[in-house]
């Protein structure tokens, strides 16, 4: 069984500061980590490896320093790491990112399962996983909290819903995005860390993937960021007191004033 886990390197804190003038993230002094949700995807891949003898490859698209995230995954027990890295990919939105990752996955070759975290802790879009499955034209199951059964050509999983869960059987290959309820990620091992230090990371640029320049990076990104702003803090609000009919009338009056 071949498993591909897609990971993203993100800033460690969930409270990153934003430069009010440029409206961009202040990245200086913030440590980079593997997106926490992706850690569950890595762990699930490793559990497959232990139970069924799978080969697990991690893949990430990002700047050269994202290599550290791939090495960390290797220190946990992943077999190989592939970094998709090129200035030409800069500015990719979720569409261009999933298009590029799809091309890289095709280049890796045969796979049975792709695992992703449900979303990245920085962008919070939850679109890249589903985007990859769409580009690859394979089934996707999002928010997976448990893998119930794996057969030769199919897999049955539990998918977390707002209330309760769904049981879904999907043909393989498929793409799953996982939630934190699925497992508890392991720590690296010392032997893994030693191996990760000298492991060869495959790096693919636009040259190796040879993609249509119109489909990648900023050019290939239909999303346009018009404005980024910090929402103003909520103010105290107003409490109306008195008998219900009276207060209801006041409320209607106030709402009328609010809505032009």
């Amino acid at each position: 069984m071949n498993i591909i886990v897609c990971i993203k390197q993100v800033p460690e804190t969930t409270e990153v500061k934003i430069n009010p003038e440029t409206n961009t993230l202040i990245r200086e002094g913030v440590k980079s980590i593997i997106n926490p949700f992706d850690m569950y995807a890595i762990e699930e891949g490793l559990r497959f490896k232990e139970k069924l003898g799978a080969k697990v490859t991690v893949i990430s698209m990002g700047p050269p320093q994202a290599e550290a995230a791939l090495r960390e995954a290797i220190s946990m027990g992943v077999d190989e790491g592939v970094l998709i890295c090129d200035r030409a990919f800069a500015g990719s939105d979720t569409w261009a990112t999933s298009y590029t990752l799809c091309a890289a996955i095709k280049k890796i070759g045969a796979f049975d399962l792709i695992l992703c975290g449900k979303q990245a802790s920085d962008g919070d879009t939850a679109q890249v996983g589903p985007g990859i499955s769409t580009h690859l034209d394979i089934p996707q199951v999002t928010y997976v909290k448990k893998i119930e059964e794996v057969k030769d050509k199919t897999m049955r999983v539990e998918r977390m819903m707002e209330e309760g869960y769904e049981i879904i059987e999907t043909p393989l290959p498929a793409l799953l995005t996982v939630v934190k309820e699925i497992n508890e990620p392991r720590l690296p091992s010392l032997k893994g860390m030693i191996r990760a230090k000298s492991a060869k990371i495959t790096i693919w640029s636009q040259k190796e993937l040879n993609l249509d320049p119109q489909q990648i990076g900023l050019c290939g990104s239909p999303t346009q960021v018009i404005k980024i702003f910090t929402p103003p803090a909520r103010t105290g609000g107003q409490i109306l007191r008195g008998e219900v009919p009276e207060v209801a009338a006041q409320l209607v009056e106030l709402l009328r004033k609010e809505i032009p």
């Binding site: 392991r186 720590l187 010392l190 860390m193 030693i194 230090k197």
Partner: protein, 383 residues
């Protein structure tokens, strides 16, 4: 201070620190209260390969390195001295096999110990033989292919939870210390049972029990080296393991200092954080300096051992003596800085002090350490 650690040592430090912070810290108070054996953490330490640090590569470990062991023990102790000692005590029980085991014994026992599948323990102390180890009464009589052990060991760390035990027993009482021998015992051997679990002041996550031998049959292949080598094996083992206890003390002290500094910055009195008062600053400065001096001594001693320097007895005694006295002083001062909160169980300071106390007592009381140092000094003077 930069101790110019190798890349591998830095990895060990990083990994042990991660385990301490993410896995041990959150449960340290729970195990301290319940006195349960922390198997879930032992598994984490095992999966991280840390049990292999003191076992040669050909038996599934990562090579014998006392400094490596010290680095790991220190970081684990920073979060909980009790959980860390379950780890360090297994090293203590493993060292005699690494140092004195024959090929068959090493092949049989070390791979499982390196993987952390099994824990080890070391048994020498008896109710009437503590500091005076030559007074042990447990006997081992050879009968055919077996030695028959009778007697009692007490205060044995990991006792009952470990699978592999190295036990010292008298094969020839008439020879005194030279009549002691070391045996490898396995849990479940006929006639080998355990006494009640002791309730302790500190290191409460670790287990301490009596080992009871009633006509316990031990195969003769389980004798280490040969009859009469028990004390030499013990002394050599302690020379290797004392830096481990010392690093446990350094870790406990560092953990207490971490708590004290954090608290001093957060606690406001007279309109200011108490860390702005010189009285507090000087205490913190002294604590940090003493810890660094202890760490430097421990690491130097561990490096000596790793380099194969002979006769490290005095240095390892100094490291254990100094680091444990520092741990007691620093943890007491940490409580003082936390004031009334420091005395309460809701805050972690008092646990550090309770955990620190044992480091002045076990693996040779600090009085015995001073004896070792003084005897050596006098001997050197006589040369």
């Amino acid at each position: 201070m930069d101790y110019l650690l190798t890349d591998e040592q830095k990895m060990i430090q990083e990994l042990a620190r991660k385990i301490a912070k993410e896995k041990i810290g959150p449960v340290a108070a729970k195990y301290d209260q319940s006195e349960e054996f922390p198997w879930e953490i032992i598994k984490v330490i095992a999966d991280a390969d840390l049990f292999g640090l003191f076992i040669p590569a050909e038996y599934g470990g990562l090579g014998v390195g006392v400094l490596n062991l010290c680095i790991a023990t220190e970081e684990l102790s920073r979060a909980c001295g009790g959980i860390a000692v379950c780890y360090a005590a297994s090293a203590l029980g493993t060292f005699p096999i690494v140092l004195f085991g024959n090929e068959e014994q090493k092949k049989k026992y070390l791979p499982d110990l390196a993987k952390g599948k099994k824990l080890a323990a070391f048994g020498i102390t008896e109710p009437e033989a503590g500091s005076d180890a030559s007074a042990i009464k447990t006997t081992a009589k050879k009968q055919g292919d077996y030695y028959i052990l009778n007697g009692l060991k007490h205060f044995i760390t990991n006792g009952g939870d470990a699978e592999i035990y190295v036990v010292i027993a008298m094969t020839d009482k008439s020879k005194g210390a030279r009549g002691a021998s070391a045996f490898i015992l396995e849990k479940g051997m006929p006639g080998f049972t355990f006494g009640k679990k002791e309730e302790k002041l500190g290191i409460r996550a670790s287990s301490t029990r009596e080992l009871i031998f009633t006509d316990c049959k031990v195969p003769k292949e389980n004798l280490l080296v040969k009859e009469g080598m028990g004390f030499i094996a013990t002394m050599k083992t302690f020379d290797m393991s004392r830096p481990g206890v010392a690093s446990q003390a350094v870790g406990i002290a560092q953990g207490a200092l971490d708590v004290a500094v954090k608290y001093a910055k957060e606690r406001h009195q007279f309109g200011k954080p108490i860390s702005s008062f010189q009285g507090i600053q000087w205490m913190l400065a002294d604590m940090a300096t003493q810890i660094e001096a202890a760490r430097a001594l421990v690491y130097s001693c561990a490096r000596e051992i790793d380099a194969g320097v002979k006769d490290v007895g005095k240095d390892s005694a100094m490291a254990k003596l100094y680091a444990s006295d520092v741990a007691m002083k620093v943890t007491t001062d940490a409580i003082q800085i936390l004031g009334g909160y420091g005395y309460m169980k809701d805050y972690p300071a008092e646990k550090y002090m309770r955990d620190a106390k044992i480091t002045q007592i076990y693996e040779g009381t600090n009085q015995i350490q001073r004896n070792i140092i003084a005897l050596r000094l006098i001997k050197e003077m006589a040369k």
